[in-house]
Symmetry: none
Subunit: 143 residues, 2 copies
DNA sequence: ATGTTCATATTCACCAATAAGCACTTCTTT
DNA sequence: AAAGAAGTGCTTATTGGTGAATATGAACAT
């Protein structure tokens, strides 16, 4: 289970540390893609296979679905973690995720997400302030 | 059953004593997350597993669900109690719970809560003054 | 009261994770 | 062939997490 929030920075070559606590779960090789809400997604090989399966079931006949599939697959790349715990993010993905220097890496259960630090704080500030909504959701799933 | 109110302080590295009376129930490993009303929640592994299962069923395609899952999982971490009865709280969670030095730990049945001491006293003062109101609500659940 | 035990507080030293800089290779472009 | 860009790997310094040692204080028994 991937959880937690970590802050690290890209080096001059566009590499990023994979936080030690996520390394085991994400695996030595994993896949990153363009994500939703302006971040990048990262999947372990297992979860990626899972995700691919789901994409395959979408009807090619629907434009929506075609777009959705294109978005994820065209924006995907395989990453490998080096001996020092870093991985390289291709420049097109760095751009897609607005990653410049400071990056926030979060674990979201079955995937990780990479965020531009400022964007993340903006986003999470906004979200956690809607505590009532959160409480309602908690109700829904029974906490 | 987790009950009681305890007051302890963070050491310079951000570690906190788990009160002896809570240790057995919460377990050696447990999970803390951002909570509501400005405190942190702590769940035993069993309670957390339950919660995780439910989160997994939420759809990636809905923004609401994404927000909710992000809030809890990115704000969660697994803690382990060391031989001396302490556990480390990651700095982002210390910040989220406004924990500086003095911390109040309370047992709330299925979970514990960590509060900034001052905030807790403020909150509980305010709440206990409305004890009548609470009593009325008890009606609701048939006490 | 005295000694004993247990829970907690505090400090220090060590080790692992990370940040940052640099050198080397490969590939592309000119 | 030379220069530049991009990718890979190494080395060093720093930070922060972990464990050990010790001190304090409360609860309890004698």
């Amino acid at each position: 289970m991937l959880i937690g929030e970590y802050e690290h920075s890209l080096d001059t070559k566009g590499r990023l540390i994979m936080p030690a606590k996520l390394r085991e779960d994400i695996g030595e090789k994993f896949v990153i893609t363009k994500g939703l809400d302006g971040c990048l997604f990262g999947f372990s090989q297992k979860e990626w296979a899972n995700f691919e399966e789901k994409l395959k079931t979408l009807p090619l006949t629907q434009k929506n679905a075609r777009n959705f599939v294109r978005f994820f697959l065209s924006g995907a790349m395989e990453c490998e973690i080096d001996k020092q715990g870093r991985f390289l993010i291709a420049s097109n993905l760095r751009e897609a995720g607005s990653l410049e220097k400071e990056v926030v890496i979060i674990g979201v259960g079955t995937r990780i997400e990479l965020w531009n630090k400022e964007k993340w704080h903006e986003y999470s500030k906004q979200e956690s302030s809607s505590a009532d909504e959160i409480a309602e959701n908690m109700d829904m799933i029974g906490i």
